[in-house]
């Protein structure tokens, strides 16, 4: 009884808003298990609550309130939220704010990863000429931090330098930093991301076709599908002409998490290569739901092959309606031109 009363008294009041946006215990627990965190849900929950209820200024008191906490734990809490965001494909404003706060707290507690991420954030914002970061001191500090961290061979900093060059399309330098990173770390999830991006650089190089394949294979081996769907798709494209069966399996994996481009590719693969019209129909239907124009074309062809005249007519009508949009007009007109004969047959039927 006393235990119950104590617990009831010691538990801070939870705001209704927090209860609404914060994921359920079961969901968080699953992610924590995946990430293999040091702290349990029970130890993390009050911190989440505290962070959501306080402002940045009060964050220093966190260490006093929760003496067991380490900067790495805060980063793990942040990555739990990021993983959830990626799995659900849903961005909640308050959770995003919480992620930022956790990052700031981790930086204040001395996490090099957090410092590195924040420094690069400043550099990015400065490049975008954001009003918030017009202060040159901030940029100078950020640059100083980056240099210091790079000198200490900080893994994430090396990766982020590579990312910066990658965004600026300076691929040679990006490749150099990625390779440097992979020498230090080649079996983590971040390494998976690096392999993926390295593959994208390699595919553009002479003799890089097979190197890119190997890099993407490593990437999808290290990363979960939610974070590596792009490289699953690119790998599938690479296999499309030599191993269509393998490409199909990879594309299905992409489609399972709703990767937009995979629907039309899968649809056409089923329609033209595997000749499974029913399955192609299903993929095109899914693509049509997200208004992918090529899926409409594929669906029309598929309906004609199956002999589903009603659906083919409906599809044509939808396409005519979509044709009023100037951006799509030329493509739709070309499609109508190429399918002239089948349209005539459809009118007669």
């Amino acid at each position: 009884m006393q235990r119950f009363v104590n617990r009831f008294v010691s538990t801070p009041r939870i705001s209704r808003k927090f209860q609404e946006f914060f994921p359920k215990k079961k969901t968080i627990n699953r992610v924590l298990f995946q990430l293999d965190t040091r702290l349990t849900y029970r130890e993390m929950y009050p911190i989440f609550l505290h962070v959501s209820q306080t402002t940045n200024e009060e964050s220093i008191s966190l260490k006093k309130k929760f003496p067991y906490i380490k900067s790495s734990d805060i980063m793990q809490m942040r990555s739990a939220l990021i993983t959830l965001r990626m799995q659900n494909k849903f961005v909640h404003k308050d959770l995003l704010v919480m992620e930022d706060r956790l990052l700031n707290i981790a930086a204040e507690l001395g996490s090099n990863d957090a410092i590195s991420i924040l420094s690069f954030k400043v550099v990015h914002e400065h490049e975008k000429e954001n009003v918030e970061y017009k202060d040159e001191n901030d940029v100078e500090t950020a640059n100083r931090f980056i240099k210091k961290l790079y000198a200490r061979n900080h893994h994430l900093t090396i990766k982020l330098i590579g990312d910066l060059f990658f965004e600026h399309k300076t691929f040679e330098k990006a490749e150099k930093y990625y390779r440097e990173f992979l020498k230090l770390e080649n079996s983590t999830k971040i390494a998976g991301e690096v392999y993926g991006k390295l593959g994208e650089i390699q595919i553009k190089q002479i003799n890089g076709f097979l190197k890119a394949e190997n890099s993407w294979l490593k990437s999808i081996e290290l990363l979960e599908i939610e974070r590596s769907s792009r490289w699953y798709f690119l790998l599938a494209k690479l296999y499309l002409s030599s191993e269509p069966m393998r490409a199909k399996a990879l594309l299905e994996k992409c489609a399972s998490i709703g990767f937009k481009e995979s629907f039309k590719t899968l649809g056409f693969l089923e329609l033209n290569y595997f000749q499974n019209h029913e399955r192609a129909n299903e993929w095109f239907k899914l693509g049509m739901e997200i208004m992918d124009l090529e899926c409409f074309f594929g669906f029309f062809d598929c309906c004609l092959k199956v002999g589903n005249i009603v659906s083919a007519r409906n599809c044509l009508e939808s396409l005519k309606k979509l044709g009023s949009d100037d951006n799509r007009k030329t493509i739709i007109n070309t499609f109508f031109e190429s399918r002239k004969d089948s349209m005539k047959l459809l009118e007669k039927a």
């Binding site: 003799n207 296999y239 191993e243």
Partner: protein, 422 residues
């Protein structure tokens, strides 16, 4: 003269391709055909006849000419059985009495046959043993051929990347490019499975002794490939082509279809009925899978597994063709002569089904005109497939030109066998 007439006998066009063969007439004027023809006429490409019963005088001479990385003669059967030469030698031998010339002649023929079996068996073992390291690197049963196709693709992409600004190439130019496997290793990896025929082969020889040669002539499929005699080989080639084309109009993979523009239509292996796939696979000379497995797949109606097998054949022919063409057409070929063995030429024709029922390929390859006919068929076949591809003289990659695993390219194309204008 009679044999020549047989070879170039009047060609009867099949009713399926008669009206639709618009594109095929132009193959002779394609840049790739001209380049290949030039190579042959200028002597860059030579067909080497390495078979001679008198081993003492010619074997070293012929192996010098053979381009080592292209040919694997040890895994192929003889193209000429020197029956007449042996009998002539016995006839001229004064040490042999007149009364026993006939018997000695046939005894020597039998001895030659046994010797050829012995060499064949030894070579089959050698091929199996020598390719064991390659087998670890390239397991054809587990997608190694697809990897090689990707390597070909990579080479095509490389050309695209390096010549992206150039307009359409007119000359056929091929730069020497490294490839992870040479042709000899590729074909030997395919042919190494012949070793599994040896136990049954030994058993038959043990039971039937002298008569076994006769059995192998009538049932050539039980004999290891390189132990076949020309007679057995003809029986085998006839049975393959009969199985592929069937009675007139009833083709194994169905008739070759053309689009309205006169080009060959795209057909996926998944659109071909199971029976037809099985028929094609059982009639492919160097099958990569035992026939009983194919039968099980057919009975289980597993289209996917049969399609996987046909994809492998498609990929093997693509890589094989690509390696051969690279070797023949590479730019420094003006200084280096490329020698293709007569045995390999016959095998190329057999695998690509570029002959008709009744064609004696071994006889043709040993005759100058016949050799020209075989080469022309092969050049036409290559021109159809690879002309206007980026590896040689075009802007498209092979899969861009033909689509993914286009089964139409594996269909029997009787137009390619027209040779009456030579």
């Amino acid at each position: 003269m009679h044999s020549r007439l047989i070879m170039i006998r009047r060609y009867v066009t099949s009713p399926v391709t008669k009206s639709d063969s618009i594109q095929l007439h132009n193959l002779v004027s394609t840049p790739l055909f001209k380049a290949l023809n030039n190579c042959y006429q200028s002597g860059i490409l030579q067909i080497v006849q390495d078979v001679n019963w008198n081993t003492e005088t010619t074997s070293s001479n012929s192996t010098e000419h053979l381009t080592v990385s292209i040919n694997s003669t040890r895994s192929l059967p003889m193209t000429k059985f020197p029956k007449k030469e042996i009998l002539k030698q016995v006839k001229l031998d004064t040490k042999v009495g007149q009364w026993r010339k006939f018997m000695t002649g046939w005894f020597k023929i039998g001895l030659y046959l046994l010797k050829s079996y012995k060499t064949g068996i030894q070579d089959t073992f050698k091929v199996y043993w020598d390719t064991r390291n390659e087998k670890r690197k390239f397991d054809f049963r587990n997608g190694a051929l697809a990897k090689l196709v990707r390597e070909v693709e990579m080479n095509e992409v490389n050309i695209k990347l390096s010549f992206s600004s150039l307009s359409k190439k007119r000359d056929v130019k091929v730069l020497a490019r490294p490839f992870s496997i040479n042709r000899k290793a590729l074909v030997e990896l395919i042919r190494r499975d012949q070793v599994w025929k040896l136990p049954f082969f030994f058993t038959l020889v043990f039971i039937f002794e002298e008569i076994s040669a006769l059995i192998f002539t009538f049932f050539p499929r039980v004999c290891p490939y390189n132990c076949l005699t020309p007679g057995g080989y003809k029986k085998l080639s006839d049975s393959y082509i009969k199985g592929t084309t069937g009675t007139q109009g009833n083709y194994c993979l169905g008739p070759l279809e053309f689009s309205e523009q006169g080009t060959i239509k795209y057909e996926s292996p998944y659109g071909v009925p199971i029976e037809d796939l099985y028929c094609f696979l059982t009639n492919f000379p160097q099958s990569m899978i035992p026939s009983w497995k194919l039968y099980v797949y057919k009975k289980l109606k597993s289209q996917k597994l049969l399609c996987n097998e046909i994809e492998k054949i498609y990929q093997y022919l693509l890589v094989d063709d690509w390696l051969l063409l690279q070797n023949i057409l590479k730019t420094d070929a003006e200084t280096n002569k490329v020698a293709l063995s007569g045995k390999e030429l016959v095998n190329c024709i057999l695998e690509r089904k570029l002959y008709r029922i009744g064609d004696n390929l071994n006889e043709m390859v040993n005759d100058r005109l016949g050799q020209k006919i075989l080469l022309k068929r092969l050049f036409l076949y290559w021109s159809l497939r690879y002309n206007d591809t980026i590896s040689f003289n075009g802007n498209y990659t092979f899969s861009e030109k033909w689509g993914v695993n286009n089964i139409s390219l594996l269909k029997y194309n009787s137009e390619l066998v027209i040779t009456n204008d030579i």
